[in-house]
């Protein structure tokens, strides 16, 4: 199931909230959350729910095992098992086709591809369980004794299929001790409505335009339509992903969980390093804490470490060479920034810094978008005028004019301008306009417009199927 579906919004969620809040015992509430989460997952992946439970069971036992043999060498076995099983699951279900294909290509063999369909969310929940076992080993969290509680951590539908990657330490205390506050619930509603609006009214509309401009033969594109199309993709992927994270964080708050932020207006970055501190934060910190630092971090072999981390970051996004290329592309840029770009930029105007970052982010999205490397090469060529610069494209100007209001709203939400406007209004508050009334009104508007768009069955893709 996805959040942006009518069934979720009007049946699943209200039913879950009502049952949850009509019971008082935290144990019963946790059971309700587990049952709803499993149902949520089974709605799209009825078979692969077994993998989810298996992964949870393995790391539950692992945690107990590590805890029992704490400070003994054998405890390390727990780390080995979690990596072996979880990465094994990932490699089997996500990367086996890719590996076989490349092996066949390199050695001229003809092994048949296993052809597994990627179970949704596997990249997210395996990372969550890995982080748990490692954290137990490091003594940062206590092992969870109750399997049901642990299963709730792994399967909680808020973050199950599209992140953020929630670490056990973040919700450890909230598993058994959730305090209800009206402002939590209310902020959750506001956050959820905003996320839904971002997904349905911004990302989906951008996605339609992306289809129109990028899903065609390269020969039918002009430089203008290529730049426009890929910029729309930048809007689509940001609003889709951050909209999902907003909804996850909002849902968490409605049930008393507090997840960490996953996006901080990444398109307002002033460098690529800055971008990666604002984009999919839960993934970046995962690789930092569980790969980069264990490898030695900044202390030794820093370039090799960076290379490994960015290879993995790219590869995590999908079993295809372009994602690896995308990771390495950022690796090169980040090393470049460490070596000289940052010094160069330091002296320039802030606008230059923004343009620099945006330019390379957008080129990055082209690498991310085209899984076919031949098409990618053609497309990059087109961006830089190998087909001649045709900047006067009536289709582009028509579509921009037709969507100019929408485009401005998208830009408003890309920068922290939305909150800025609300804060400004709050400064001038008087008895006629209470900021809270305005927010309440906006929430309802966002909810109903999103539902209207969903009823109209407009384009509503799920873009994480490769993750």
């Amino acid at each position: 199931m996805v959040f942006s579906s009518l069934f979720f919004l009007t049946i699943f969620l209200p039913l879950n909230l009502l049952l949850y809040y009509f019971t008082k015992s935290i144990n019963v509430r946790n059971i309700i959350l587990v049952v709803f989460s499993l149902f949520f997952y089974a709605w799209g992946e009825p078979i692969w729910i077994s993998l989810l439970i298996f992964s949870a069971l393995v790391d539950y036992l692992n945690g107990l095992f590590i805890d029992k043999y704490r400070n003994q060498p054998i405890a390390k076995l727990g780390i080995f098992i979690t990596l072996f099983i979880n990465l094994g699951l990932l490699f089997t279900f996500k990367y086996s086709d890719f590996i076989v294909e490349n092996f066949n290509f390199l050695f001229n063999t003809t092994f048949s591809k296993p052809g597994f369909l990627l179970p949704i969310g596997i990249s997210f929940y395996t990372f969550q369980t890995i982080s748990y076992s490692i954290d137990v080993y490091k003594g940062e969290v206590k092992a969870q004794k109750n399997f049901l509680n642990f299963l709730m951590f792994v399967s909680l539908y808020h973050q199950l299929v599209a992140g953020p990657i929630v670490r056990y330490s973040v919700i450890e205390n909230e598993i058994n001790n959730r305090k209800f506050h009206w402002d939590d619930f209310s902020n959750g509603v506001t956050r959820f409505s905003k996320g839904l609006f971002k997904k349905v009214l911004i990302a989906n509309v951008a996605g339609e335009i992306v289809q129109q401009f990028l899903e065609r033969d390269i020969v039918d594109m002009t430089s203008a339509s290529a730049w426009f199309g890929i910029s729309m993709y930048a809007i689509q992927i940001y609003f889709d992903f951050s909209g999902y994270s907003d909804m996850a964080i909002g849902l968490g708050k409605m049930f008393g969980f507090h997840y960490d932020e996953n996006f901080k207006h990444p398109y307002t970055s002033t460098s690529i390093g800055d971008f990666w501190r604002r984009w999919h934060i839960s993934l970046g910190t995962f690789f930092r804490d569980y790969l980069y630092i264990p490898l030695g971090g900044n202390k030794k072999n820093v370039y090799l470490n960076l290379l490994i981390v960015w290879f993995c970051t790219g590869f995590w996004h999908g079993a295809s060479w372009n994602f690896i290329l995308w990771g390495l592309y950022f690796c090169v840029l980040l090393i470049g920034e460490k070596l000289f770009i940052n010094q160069l930029l330091a002296k320039t105007h802030i606008i230059i810094k923004h343009l620099y970052a945006l330019f390379f982010i957008i080129i990055g999205w082209a690498i991310f978008y085209f899984t076919d490397l031949a098409k990618l090469t053609d497309f990059l060529g087109l961006l830089f005028g190998t087909n001649g610069f045709v900047l006067n494209d009536t289709e582009v100007s028509t579509v921009i004019k037709e969507n100019i209001i929408w485009l401005l709203i998208a830009l408003l939400f890309s920068a922290p301008l939305y909150n800025y406007c609300l804060n400004k209004i709050e400064l001038y508050k008087n008895r006629f306009l209470n900021i809270n009334h305005l927010i309440l009104f906006l929430n309802i508007v966002m909810l109903f417009t999103s539902i209207a768009m969903l009823v109209n069955k407009t384009y509503n893709p799920f873009i994480y199927f490769r993750f």
Partner: protein, 454 residues
Amino acid sequence: MNKLSNYMSSYRIQKMNAFLFVFCISILGLSFLVLPKKKISINEKRSLAQFPSLSMNSLLNGNYMDSIDLYFSDHFPWREQFITVANTIAENRGFADENLKYYTRNAQPDSPSKTMDELEKEDSLSLESIALDTNQTVNNLPFETIKSVVVSNKRAIQMFGGSKIGAKNYAGLINSYKKAFGPSVNIYCMPIPVGADFYLPEKINKRKEKEFINDLFQQLQSDVVKVNAYEELSKHSNEYIQFNTDHHWTGRGAYYAYVAFCKSSGFDPLPLAGFQRKVIPNFLGTLYYYTLSKELKTNIDSVEYFKVPVSTKSFYIKKGRTAEQPTQLYAEFAKGSNAYGVFLGGDYPLMRIATSVKNGRKVLIFKDSYGNAFSPYLASHFEEVYIIDFRYFIGSVKSLVVKNNITDIVFAHNVYASNSSFTVKREMGMLNYIAPPKPTAQPLTKQDTSKVIK
């Protein structure tokens, strides 16, 4: 004190925010469960999704859940109001450019479901035909899947791309017919433009239909008669030859194609004044319902038709019957959004029109719905007119032609159908058709329609 009251008010409003949200989504969910469900949507002219039946298979592969999602959005409470809101949003995302608006639907908005016309005609028309050598059903025809529509100057026009491969394959099909029937049967190829060249602003479409048609003609054998309806229509493009709100051409447009046909085949075309002119007013067509553009609603169509001045008897085959049924050449009761149905009364697998003409000539027309407006004109020049709708007909064209001494075959497809591999597959299948073995009981829909006609 002030702080406390402030806190109290924000506390109250937080509660309100929470309750209002839960209230709204619960009410929508409850209403969905309680309210009665409609079967068809009048506005969208289609039947709404049915509640899926449960099977182990559909449950395990997730199809069951997908169907439920579909059912859900089709029967959502206050659905039409929500759609109006969504369309208002869509129309106000920016400013339209000089009467030019693109409509593209990438996601197929509707899963296979019948349109309203089809529903209404259900009992009089065989719909459930099965493709000869493909498993495609008639609901997913490539060319009927409207893709990109531009509204410009109060008129909706479909974008046409055309492809070299499409032209090559279609030419190959017609050449095969020529080879199969030899010199004793005249074969005509008459590609019908859909208005893209005539009515799309030049900056969007530069003679793409013409390019496709020329490409097609070049690849036809010299003994295939090329009917250049495009040329004839282009001379009259300022007349009412194409609907504003529908994807079809008008009876007048079809008349000019008939003139082009006569020029290529040596008949004298009757003057337009020689027909009895009739008009059905207030026609809002498919492209209006596709775009729901308010601009189009101000340019409503009327269906003009010209009745041939010869006496005719028309027949068609009803679904599941073994004998032909009498029908009318013009379904004059057609009205509203079904008004184009006046021509032939709709799409039948096979029709036969017997006329009062005596010249030994009999014609077979391959057509899509564009051919409906064109076919009646030929009744003035042939003893019999056979009309095959390539989507529904099942059987052998060879035996049909031989048994009935057909002398002329016309391929009267629009450029979309001509460019489509589905058309080529179907009509190639009819040429090479081998009847299924006799004794096994065939389902009715698979019956050889060529055998039951006479």
